[in-house]
């Protein structure tokens, strides 16, 4: 059924959209069979009281809300928002994205060529509020009417009131910032950026965002050292644990370098790897040791956690964390920083934060992917691809491919080491997001995970099943390679929600695990066929 929601409906009272099973994008076999996926649930009444559920019934902004009770209170909230919006339009406060912001507000032709690029819009059954241009058009109309003072005839209808503010804040957390829509724009404007700009306005002016991203994310990262709450001492303990694990699993006695001055580069992993998938940083340690590569990890505060959630919502938090990363490298006299398997950490430090470093903070930053391919290409380690003789497909993290241009090294590794490697479609720079981008993978409160699993990650489930359709039988073990911690987080939850390992014997892991698994001198397989 065609969604009749209009732009100006955002300012009306009541829930805008109710998601329905029958509208969702159909999934391939076996998920097109009856009762193969859990149903939508209703938000609890207490959630409706305390949070904003009027967008689609789901909650991303998980700090309590006190609704305005008088007209004056409502006007005060609107005024605060507009003051922030004006700051967004000044070069002092917002040089960071002023030009792309204004170009996007100015020039959209509203042709909607971008709409069908969006996996969330498609997966939801084309719900209007998820259309890439929806939130952008709301902001554009506010800009024209309330900042530039134009009439409805010029701006289009919009009312800036509490409902608009509340739903605008919420709808800015229904886009993964994958920027697939931007590839299709004939004018070249940036819908994904506007999503981030709305988040940024609320964060930098009013001080809130999703709690896991801001308070438990960047704030905790800067204070404790990691968004996982891992402390420097805890990090050192984990490194010791990894050394023991490596020895137990491979028989190799490896001393993982930590705080070694003068190494060629500082390797920074997403700290989530140490806690959830320690086999990934351990695999890096094995490969780099075997290949004789000079590197070090850092135990400096922030320096051992490569994530940078600022990239999703706040320029200052982004800059603070990025500068802590470069400082950690500087203290160890490293020539550069190499980012492990984490897509947003790649983009944050190598691309976005490239314009917040200067002089002594300008330590060069790069991806781990070329080094990994170099190890295979130059035969620095003996590999036997037959050890990886099972179906493998690759999920491309958007941040690594579309937003950074690191596309080939990782698939060259897979082509060389995995005889049954097959691409999913589309792939590379035209891939679909895992559905966990822009913070979604770590947003676990209340009913948001349900929305993520049913809507946001739906396309990735479809792509994965399609890639393995010739071997979907559960008697055949299959592996999805996701060289990114956040993607793995989203995929882990999606696999659990849909019981993918149980129903199809499809598992997921990072890239380096395939490399270690293929090492000739390893007696036991490194990849374990278990879901965690």
């Amino acid at each position: 059924m065609k969604d009749k929601t209009r732009i100006e409906d955002i300012g009306k009272k009541g829930q805008m959209v109710k998601l329905r099973e029958e509208d969702l994008m159909e999934l391939p076999y076996p998920y097109n069979q009856p009762d193969m996926e859990p149903k939508f649930t209703e938000p609890k009444d207490e959630w409706r009281e305390r949070y904003v559920t009027d967008l689609d019934g789901y909650i991303a902004i998980n700090i309590p809300v006190k609704r305005p009770e008088t007209k004056e209170e409502e006007e005060r909230m609107v005024r605060r928002f507009l003051e922030g919006f004006k700051r967004l339009l000044t070069k002092n406060d917002h040089w960071t994205f002023l030009q792309p912001l204004l170009l996007t507000l100015e020039y959209c032709a509203k042709c909607q060529a971008c709409a069908d690029a969006c996996p969330i819009y498609l997966a939801s059954g084309k719900k209007e509020i998820y259309r890439p241009t929806y939130r952008v058009e709301v902001l554009r109309r506010i800009y024209k009417k309330y900042i530039k003072g134009k009439s409805d005839f010029v701006s289009g209808k919009i009312d800036l009131n509490w409902d608009t503010l509340a739903k605008l804040a919420e709808v800015s957390w229904r886009c993964t910032l994958c920027r697939r829509c931007e590839q299709r724009c004939p004018i070249g404007i940036n819908n994904g950026l506007i999503t981030r700009e709305i988040r940024l306005l609320f964060a930098q002016e009013m001080g809130f965002a999703n709690k896991e991203v801001h308070e438990l994310g960047t704030v905790q990262h800067l204070k404790v050292g990691s968004s996982t709450a891992l402390t420097p001492d805890g990090f050192k303990d984990i490194v010791e644990f990894m050394e023991e694990e490596i020895e137990e699993k491979t028989g190799k006695k490896i001393k993982i370098p930590v705080d070694e001055k003068g190494a060629d580069f500082l390797l920074i992993h997403n700290a989530g790897e140490y806690l959830s998938w320690p086999e990934n940083p351990a695999a890096f340690a094995i490969l780099f040791e075997e290949a004789g590569i000079s590197y070090t990890l850092s135990s400096e505060l922030v320096g051992y956690d490569g994530v940078n959630y600022g990239v999703w919502y706040d320029d200052m938090q982004l800059a603070r964390i990025a500068l802590k990363h470069t400082e950690a490298a500087r203290k160890l006299d490293c020539n550069s920083i190499v980012v492990g398997e984490c897509g947003h950490a790649h983009k944050a430090i190598a691309v976005i934060a490239d314009r917040v470093v200067a002089d002594e903070t300008n330590v060069y930053r790069q991806s781990c992917m070329p080094i990994l391919w170099d190890i295979v290409k130059k035969k620095k380690i003996n590999f036997d691809p037959e050890k990886n003789d099972f179906p493998v497909t690759l999920h491309d993290p958007c941040n690594m491919v579309r937003l950074m241009g690191v596309v080939e090294p990782q698939r060259k590794v897979l082509r060389a080491l995995c005889p049954q490697f097959r691409e999913m479609s589309p792939n590379g720079v035209y891939n679909y997001c895992c559905g966990g981008g822009s913070g979604f993978a770590i947003m676990q409160s209340m009913n948001f995970p349900e929305w993520r699993n049913k809507v946001s990650t739906r396309m990735k489930l479809k792509q994965t099943m399609d890639a393995f359709k010739d071997c979907i039988d559960p008697s055949i073990n299959k592996m999805l390679c996701a060289p990114c911690s956040n993607c793995k987080g989203a995929i882990r939850d999606m696999f659990s929600y849909y019981q993918v390992p149980q129903k199809t014997s499809t598992y997921y892991t990072g890239l380096v695990e395939f490399m270690v698994n293929a090492m000739v001198d390893l007696e036991e397989p490194y990849i374990e066929w278990e879901f965690h």
Partner: protein, 315 residues
């Protein structure tokens, strides 16, 4: 007297158009450097075929950086001349918007040919039309571009207008001004078409008008009311366009070259680093609790910051 005023108004309209477009260009080009927001494939990257960048090279800063400018131009002109992305991703709409835009390009070419023809007549003494090969070339090209431009532009404009009105996805997102702009253009086209078909099929009057313009002569041909209305509305359109989103022909350069394809690395000692140093000196006034009043970006990003967080969103 009316005709002289008309001539003057044509000069003024054209001058305003040029000045306003240049001002627009200056406005976009004088903006401060921004954080990188490129999107791959970036066509000047040598590995653009698969969407690759220099980040695919280990220690990329040690390597000589190559840029494929030819491919960038190819991509630019493919988009500009054929509106490729609309063709690829919104095919039905392309069948209206492409003739519309092609019509505009042809009319611009027609203007340029009238201009060249005007110069030819005014300063070489070669009459257009005449048996002179150059005059023949200009004459027939003018005829071709003008006729095709009017036909395609008028039909395309009607098509775009109807499409915007009939397709719900576009209609919901369109404001009154979007329709006004299209109707304005359509009126100019329709008056132009009537003038052409009824009074000036070989563009002789148009050529004579342009000749008078380039020679600053008052020997302007007599214009009937239809042609007069067409010229006046066309002048108003020229004045109006740079102040609307129809100036996206300017913006499009910046959206691509300064945002989507802008991947210049911040190498030590580079011009980029110099600009970054400058913007990091800007003072910040954001009001959230994790900001401190009076600091510059560099200070705010490096000095110890408050870690207060908002417990509740309230009035």
């Amino acid at each position: 007297m009316v005709v002289s005023l008309l001539q003057l108004s044509s000069y003024v309209a054209f001058a305003i158009f040029i000045v306003a477009v240049l001002a627009k260009w200056r406005q976009w080009s004088s903006m401060p450097i921004h954080l990188r927001w490129e999107l791959y494939p970036v066509p000047h990257e040598p590995e653009h075929e698969h969407g690759g960048s220099y980040f695919e090279e280990f220690n990329f800063w040690e390597k000589h950086r190559e840029k494929n400018h030819l491919n960038e131009m190819k991509e630019l002109f493919t988009e500009l001349l054929f509106i490729k992305r609309v063709f690829d991703f919104k095919r039905q709409f392309w069948f209206t918007t492409y003739p519309f835009h092609l019509g505009i390009y042809l009319i611009l070419a027609w203007f340029a040919l009238l201009f060249v023809g005007g110069l030819t007549q005014a300063y070489t003494g070669i009459a257009i039309p005449s048996a002179h090969p150059w005059a023949q070339l200009i004459y027939y090209l003018t005829l071709l571009t003008g006729s095709l431009g009017i036909i395609l532009g008028t039909l395309g404009c009607i098509g775009v207008l109807l499409y915007r009105l009939s397709e719900e996805d576009m209609r919901k997102y369109s404001a009154g001004l979007d329709y006004f702009n299209l109707i304005f253009i359509l009126v100019v086209y329709v008056l132009g078409a009537i003038s052409w078909l009824s009074f000036d099929r070989t563009f002789t009057t148009a050529q004579a008008y342009m000749t008078a313009m380039v020679s600053f002569s008052s020997a302007i041909p007599q214009l009937n009311n239809i042609i007069l209305a067409h010229v006046i509305l066309l002048e108003l359109l020229w004045i109006y366009i740079p102040f609307t989103k129809m100036s996206h022909f300017v913006g499009k350069y910046f959206t691509y070259h300064k945002v989507l394809w802008e991947d210049e690395p911040n190498l030590r000692g580079s011009e980029v680093e110099k600009k970054v140093r400058e913007v990091l000196g800007y003072k910040v006034t954001w009001q959230a609790p994790h900001f401190t009043a009076g600091r510059t970006w560099a200070e705010e990003a490096t000095k110890p910051s408050k870690v207060d967080v908002i417990e509740r969103w309230e009035p």
